[in-house]
């Protein structure tokens, strides 16, 4: 009994420590989401909607740029189809985020649906760059980060909707904290991985999209473009490797490549038959 109680206390302390680490990790997001959320709440309030809608939207939609878009569409008197299509297009970049989290999110258990729901740009950036402390629960840590960011966003938007017109804080420039966070996390990625090509892909895709697309579409455009560049480079590297391999095998023994040849022949035959 006593041991059990001790274990529980120990586990409780560990969770508290984990929560504090998660909180420290999310402080930059706190400082960014409060003014951004306030701007959203203030806009929605200005469009004539009760603050409860700011709360509901931030709770159930939880998408920064998506909610700003929604206010603009509300003001423009858009139809439901427009809301759906515009939101899908704007947030489609998130589909790419999930692609690189398939492995990280496997085995997180019952918090997985929530982690997927709460996958904003900032939470994605933190989850892909922050390492989980050894011996502590990955799912709990991820959940703390995601839920804290969510909480900041809700708090900011409600503050903006209720007090936005009363408070006259000069927060101009404060949301630059999120830019700074992305800069720091990019550098951490640079330290964590040997790969340098992703940065080249990002600079070329980003600059090109900045020039070619309007600000609202540039992020999705640049992510699609960058992914295509990554795939293109991978394909050409594989070709080079293949060419090197066949050269090598041709030099050493012809027997080894025979099975490959024999398996490819029927396919060739089929293609010929078809044409």
């Amino acid at each position: 009994m006593v041991r059990n109680w001790k274990d529980k206390k120990e586990a409780g302390k560990q969770n508290k420590d984990l929560f504090i680490i998660a909180f420290k990790t999310t402080v930059p997001v706190l400082l960014g989401y409060i003014p951004l959320g306030m701007a959203f709440g203030f806009l929605l309030d200005g469009a004539g909607y009760h603050w409860i809608y700011a709360f509901i939207m931030s709770l159930f939609v939880y998408a920064g740029s998506g909610q700003f878009l929604a206010v603009a569409l509300l003001a423009a008197g858009a139809g439901l189809t427009e809301f759906a299509i515009a939101t899908l297009l704007l947030n489609f970049r998130h589909a790419f985020y999930g692609l690189s989290l398939l492995e990280k999110f496997s085995g997180v258990g019952r918090v997985k649906p929530y982690l997927i729901f709460a996958l904003t740009d900032e939470t994605y950036a933190l989850l892909t760059t922050t390492d989980v402390l050894q011996g502590s629960s990955k799912s709990r840590f991820y959940f703390y980060i995601a839920a804290l960011d969510h909480l900041y966003w809700i708090a900011g938007s409600v503050l903006g909707a209720t007090l936005g017109s009363v408070l006259d804080l000069n927060l101009e420039g404060m949301s630059f904290v999120l830019t700074a966070l992305f800069v720091v996390l990019t550098i951490e990625q640079y330290f964590n991985s040997e790969a340098r090509f992703p940065f080249i892909a990002a600079v070329s895709a980003g600059t090109l999209s900045l020039i070619l697309f309007n600000p609202d579409n540039m992020l999705l455009a640049s992510i699609v473009l960058g992914t295509l560049i990554l795939i293109g480079r991978e394909k050409s590297m594989q070709k080079v490797q293949k060419a090197q391999k066949t050269q090598k095998t041709q030099g050493t023994s012809e027997k080894e490549i025979r099975p490959i040849n024999s398996s490819s022949q029927p396919v060739e035959g089929k293609i010929k038959e078809k044409s």
């Binding site: 930059p28 400082l31 909607y49 809608y53 939207m57 159930f60 939880y62 998408a63 998506g66 929604a70 439901l80 809301f83 759906a84 939101t87 947030n91 489609f92 970049r93 589909a95 999930g98 692609l99 690189s100 989290l101 398939l102 999110f105 997927i116 729901f117 996958l119 994605y124 950036a125 760059t129 101009e172 420039g173 404060m174 630059f176 904290v177 999120l178 830019t179 700074a180 992305f182 800069v183 720091v184 990019t186 951490e188 990625q189 790969a195 992703p198 892909a201 990002a202 895709a205 980003g206 900045l210 600000p215 992020l219 640049s222 992510i223 960058g226 992914t227 990554l230 795939i231 991978e234």
Partner: protein, 112 residues
């Protein structure tokens, strides 16, 4: 102005559309293996996306009129330099943000 019911339906549509974009890869590759090409570029996506997010933050900068994006570029330079030097995330982020707030609130580049 939408009435309460219309507003709830609209919010539900936006919420579902947003969740759909986030859940799509998990639905597609939840039970079957993702294609080989995908798993190869998977690890290269985070660094690329993070740098793209930095570039995205500069989307509204007016490069051709004063102050020509100098406050943004200067601050990013300071944050990056500080982080390469000290590698202390809090220090880099807060120094950068404070600097940027001072630069824009006091209009430090008004002479341009």
């Amino acid at each position: 102005m939408l009435d309460t019911l219309q507003m709830f339906i609209t919010i539900a549509v936006i919420a579902l559309a947003t969740f759909a974009t986030r859940a799509l890869p998990f639905i597609c590759f939840g039970s079957r293996e993702p294609p080989a090409m995908l798993s190869v570029i998977e690890k290269n996506l985070p660094p690329m996306i993070l740098l793209l997010l930095v570039i995205y933050c500069l989307k509204d900068v007016q490069w051709l009129t004063a102050p020509y994006g100098i406050p943004e570029l200067l601050t990013i330079g300071v944050v990056a330099g500080l982080h390469f030097w000290k590698r202390n995330a809090m220090l880099s982020i807060f120094t950068g943000t404070t600097l940027y707030m001072v630069l824009v609130q006091f209009n430090a580049f008004s002479f341009l």
